[in-house]
Amino acid sequence: MEVLAYQGLIGLSSAMYLWLISAGLTIIFGVLGVLNFAHGSLFMLGGYLAYTLYGLVGLPFSVSVLGSMAAVALLGAAMERGFLRPLYGLDPSYQLLLTFGFVLLLDDAVKLVWGGVFRIPPIPRWLDGAVVVFGRPFPLYNVFLIAVGLVVGLGLWGLFDRTWWGRSVRATAADREMAAALGIPTPRVFSSVFMLGSALAALGGALGTPVRPVAPGIGAAMIVQAFIITVIGGLGNLRGAFAGSLLVGVLSSYGTLWFPEFELFFVFAIMAVVLLVRPQGLFAS
């Protein structure tokens, strides 16, 4: 029983990490209708910036994480205003091509700046340790991930449900023309949502640096999982992304324990089963 509980807790921390990344992807799709292929690259860039600020410059880890989020958010704003905005009225395939172009561009850019070799800074002292849970050491780092995931979840819920900005975003997502007619500055809403989504991608990348090396292309592996989660949860639905993250994180963890032979196929099996039962995802938009 303790083995199952411990494995579930490990799965929960993985789920919270996946949630951080899929939340940004979901928000951008839900409001802007843009399936942002470059989300994984923004995740990677967040990792590199945090590595630079924390591992090379020597800033505190928390400051480095916030700094990388701010920088990637600004980059996101530039991407949205400079490149995506002219494509909103066109066929969605243009957005896909554009964001895929950003994947190639950013992957090569990090190679030019940081080189092709992976980078990993030391783990911050305050995260380097464990607490005994169910008779086994459970990493403080994983506890921290769970806490951050929950705080981000609550923060997003508060932001979208309890603020004027959140109501503007929801109105814009529901009906752009009507929102604009009511005086909501929809272009600014779009930019701010893209910034928020980008910052969340950077948060995932930055938080991972002490235990996951950053390297060109790491975003590609992560974006696949994030897409699977958004599909499972229901495209563009934030509650769905949270539920999808929990489902994938926790069930994958049990899958590793019970069916190690099927590790490769397990995540896809979860997606297939969910889509067979609910083709629109767990929470349709």
């Binding site: 411990y6 993985s14 092709g116 992976f118 990993i120 990493p139 292309g217 790491i218 963890s253 590793t256």
Partner: protein, 419 residues
């Protein structure tokens, strides 16, 4: 009219004459320059291997050119990123041979790339010196069975990982083994070889758990937790490069080294892994329980040739050489030896010249095994320790075993690759 044509004819003739005078000179092998096409992974968590392949090849070429080339022919190199994708590796090889004019090929990191390249090499008819890809099938199936003579492997294959059985056979307190394996052929083959040999030595040993991590896994925490639930005494781990660093960092966080007796990280002796865990090794976080091997280790053998190689490499690149650097460096020198014997660039003659070749390299003596065109040499295994003489950790308490004991030998029987 005549006034127009005469200057034109004169200028044309002068042009032809000057082209002939400046035409490409050829070296004694009948080519202007010997071209070496090199491939390796140059991006992602495994990128250091490609970079090291490039650095090893470049160093050998610079040295050989400084000494007058091969039979008076200068060497030239072109490096390409194989991206660990078979399709890319094949495309690169075709470009290097048919467009760029490579006479020999070197690399690659991925076993999948190596297996895809094999049949293409027969068509391109160029010798490819494999300097990292470890799958046993490259030499056992494509060379020994199918007779693709263009394949020559300089690096130790997956057989090397079976050395763990020799390393731990006398540790009576290590009875329960589990694996955190790479979820592809390399992981299955390494685990199969280890189990097979360990069972021979120690019938009392149990294999209690396995977790398989797909390529490019970034979160190993569920794999570690699942395996630790089986209370193993020893862990046999095969994720490599950046993934090995990730795995070890995450294992430390779960307190694994307080609970197991030994952890064997198959390619943990590679420079990028040792760099990635340097601080933890210096702080004694692995409690002296982390063991590893590689396909070459920079602090062994203690020969003048190896010390000199490491020193020159470090001076040239400001890095320690990892095994893909040494194997590629040695492959270029093997090319030199073979071409000097064959006095030709023809593939069949060069391959014939490899027969019976026994060559001193930084990794020690390499002996060509004709049946599968595999160079055989010994690589030790040992404990990962800090050493003040080196900027990064090294393998200490080294144990060297005769490869005739733990390598597979022809005729080859199929290896059970089941998980």
């Amino acid at each position: 009219m005549r006034a127009v044509w005469v200057p034109l004819v004169v200028v044309s003739l002068l042009g032809l004459a000057s082209w002939g005078a400046a035409g490409p000179a050829t070296c004694p092998l009948g080519v202007p320059v010997m071209r070496l096409g090199v491939q390796g992974a140059a991006s992602g968590a495994h990128a250091d291997y490609g970079r090291q392949i490039e650095m090893g090849a470049q160093l050998a070429i610079e040295e050989i050119n400084a000494a007058g080339g091969i039979l008076g022919c200068r060497l030239e190199m072109r490096f390409m990123d194989e991206e660990l994708r078979p399709a890319t590796a094949v495309r690169n090889a075709r470009f290097l041979v048919t467009e760029w004019g490579a006479h020999f090929l070197y690399g690659v990191d991925s076993s999948g790339s190596a297996m895809a390249l094999g049949p293409v090499l027969r068509e391109l008819d160029r010798v490819h010196f494999f300097t990292h890809a470890a799958t046993h099938r490259l030499t056992e199936e494509l060379v020994a069975q199918q007779g693709i003579r263009q394949i020559v492997r300089v690096s130790a294959p997956v057989y090397q990982d079976a050395v763990a059985a020799w390393l731990f056979r006398d540790m009576r307190n290590v009875r329960r083994w589990a694996t955190i394996g790479a979820d592809y052929e390399y992981g299955y083959a390494a685990w199969a070889l280890f189990r097979e040999q360990m069972r021979r030595f120690r019938p009392d040993v149990q294999f209690v758990g396995a977790a398989w991590a797909p390529f490019l896994t970034q979160d190993f925490s569920s794999h570690i937790a699942a395996v630790m639930a089986t209370n193993p005494d020893g862990i046999f781990a095969t994720p490599w490069a950046g993934e090995a660093v990730t795995l070890l960092r995450q294992a430390l966080l779960q307190g694994v080294f307080d609970r197991v007796q030994v952890w064997f990280q198959a390619m943990g002796g590679s420079v990028d892994v040792l760099e990635g865990i340097a601080q933890e090794v210096r702080e004694g976080r692995f409690r002296g329980k982390l063991y590893a091997t590689a396909r070459y280790i920079h602090n062994w053998p203690n020969t003048e040739q190896n010390r000199s190689f490491v020193s020159r490499f470090a001076k040239r690149w400001n890095r320690m050489p990892n095994y893909s650097a040494e194997t590629t460096y040695s492959a270029v020198y093997i090319t030199k030896a073979a071409v000097e014997r064959a006095r030709s660039l023809r593939t069949d003659r060069v391959v014939d010249a490899l027969r019976g070749l026994r060559i001193e390299t930084p990794a020690g003596v390499r002996v060509f095994r004709a049946e599968d065109q595999q160079f055989v040499y010994a690589v030790p295994a040992g404990k990962v320790v800090a050493d003040p003489r080196y900027p990064i950790p090294v393998l200490g308490e080294l144990k060297v075993f005769d490869p005739r004991e733990y390598w597979r030998w022809p005729p080859f029987q199929p290896l059970d690759l089941s998980k």
